[in-house]
């Protein structure tokens, strides 16, 4: 543990002269109230890119995060898609994991106890292949300890039966979310599909169904082809596009959704730096989630957090509420 970069910056921070006489602006308030949930700061982890927290605990003090959104959970274990499951694209990647996961019971027995040790909000991302399965998972999570909220994935592009089939049909979205709403008292966050023409209609359907917040965006449906073999790059043929390549689409959708409903939003899609996160906050997100960036830098969440704090100090912003939704769009 010699002079690593991290050690140095930690020391530097403690002795920074500007941290001594802490005025509001020198130590801006990053805490937020998201749908009644107290978050230390607005930086969360995007589902499926941070495992169940444990995989990254070596690099990130989970206590420092606003919250952890875990990999998607279903009623029964899911084997996932055959490989190849990933393909890199310009500043992005396609994935067709197929929602591989150990199922809700194993999650609650083996993964949740670890997360409970930390003082951070835990959001459980979940999905099903039928309305009954969604309800089943929600019921099981309802009784469990240490869960701050449920993120309902109605938008996975990589499973044929459930997922996106619900999230791209307005009526199915409303019915599904209404049923899940009845199954739990936990705060419900609907994770919307970007693979729709008008995201605001789905945002309103989620609000009407009684959801407490929105997450957007999930991955964009994409495809890549090996032109020499004339085969798709992914065994599943199509996959979900994520990473910096999708950020402008994500910012646009967050902005549209924020203008059409009053629900708080977790914005995500290609966030790598604090400035990237600021775009989402200005567009109207109350929190952000860091996804694919975790793969290229396991400390990405903390770098984004530092970036937000630095930006607020530089711009003399004392409270996050001064920024959220404050893009000047004329």
């Amino acid at each position: 543990m010699r002079k690593t970069k991290d050690n140095k910056s930690a020391i530097r921070k403690e002795t920074r002269p500007d941290r001594i006489g802490k005025s509001a602006i020198e130590s801006p308030d990053l805490s937020i109230d998201f749908a009644g949930i107290k978050l230390k700061n607005p930086v969360l982890t995007a589902s499926g890119t941070f495992g169940y927290g444990e995989e990254f605990a070596e690099f990130v003090d989970l206590n420092k995060l606003g919250g952890v959104i875990v990999k998607g959970i279903s009623l029964k274990p899911i084997k996932g898609n055959p490989p190849p499951r990933i393909w890199e694209t310009p500043s992005g990647m396609l994935n067709a994991i197929g929602l591989e996961n150990p199922g809700v019971d194993v999650f609650l027995n083996e993964k949740m106890p670890y997360l409970r040790k930390y003082d951070t909000a835990v959001f459980v991302n979940m999905f099903g292949y039928s309305l009954e399965e969604y309800v089943g998972v929600a019921e099981r999570l309802d009784g469990a300890q240490g869960i701050s909220g449920i993120e309902v994935n109605i938008s996975c592009p990589n499973v044929k039966a459930g997922g996106m089939a619900f999230g791209t049909d307005l009526r199915a979205t409303f019915e599904l979310l209404s049923a899940v709403r009845k199954a739990t008292r936990l705060p419900l966050i609907a994770k919307l599909s970007p693979n729709v023409t008008d995201v605001t209609a789905f945002a309103r359907a989620a609000a009407d169904a009684g959801c407490d917040g929105l997450s957007l965006i999930n991955t964009l449906l994409g495809m890549a082809i090996d032109v020499r073999c004339r085969k798709p790059r992914l065994a599943n043929c199509t996959g979900g596009l994520s990473g910096p390549a999708i950020r402008p689409v994500a910012v646009r959708m967050v902005w549209q959704a924020a203008r059409s409903v009053s629900l708080p939003i977790i914005g995500m899609g290609g966030i790598v730096t604090g400035e990237d996160a600021m775009e989402f906050l200005l567009a109207g997100a109350s929190a952000v989630a860091v996804g694919t960036a975790n793969f290229i830098n396991p400390r990405a969440t903390l770098d984004v957090l530092d970036g937000i704090e630095g930006f607020m100090r530089e711009q003399k912003i004392a409270d996050l509420r001064e920024i959220i939704g404050k893009v000047d769009a004329g």
Partner: protein, 272 residues
Amino acid sequence: MPSNRLHRALIVSHKPVGRGYYRLVLKAPEAARSALPGQFVMLRVSDTLDPLLARPFGISAVISRSSLEILYRVVGKGTTMLTTAKAGQSLSLLGPLGKGFPRPEKKTVPVLVAGGSGFPPLHFLAQRAGSRTHLFLGARNKECLPPADIVRSFKELADKVHIATDDGSAGQQGTSTDILDAFLTKTERREHLVLYACGPHAMLAAVSKIAAEHAIPCYVSMEERMACGLGACMGCSVPMKAGGYKRACKEGPVFDSREIDWSEQVLLKLKR
């Protein structure tokens, strides 16, 4: 909690070594100290966002206890960009990652089988495995073999290096698995032999079959596409005989060959 697996690694030297390969030596003392043969690193070829993902590379040697050696073949966008990195610069490096080869026991006679660009992790194993080692190298032709310096290094480390090329331009004519099979058939005392293989999936499937026929333990290193290297993305799945998948980056890249569902593995490759 700064992790000791995430490094800014200084490039100590970086040179082409022939046959399309580069030798990259990176100073990363903590990684070098704990690295085991068969483990790998995730290396970012630049700090820009395109290419986005880090590239996985096996560790081919530990040098003077503070540096890692990587031998890589230029095959695409990332490795082409990597060739421009200069000594004195530093790169983001994550590792060592994954589970390496089980350590050969005192009596073990390690039999290493390398195909394509699968030899780097076996070179590290040869460094640590002792002089009883046999190495089998196979390639389409002489130009597709590992660089001459590496072959020489293998010859110094191992008891014997067996070479086969499809066209007979170097060593015997045939595949590495042909000459491996012949070697095992004529070896009388097989109880201490252990196979360690790395290369294309079809070759690994063939080695695994030969190992089963001769009832010899066999460990294979599976090179899958990877995004995180940390067990989080579930991108690097290897099909298991018992059903389901395991992650090459976490439970692997080295697996007992009997665990793997070769039929699905080979079927998938044929489909592609």
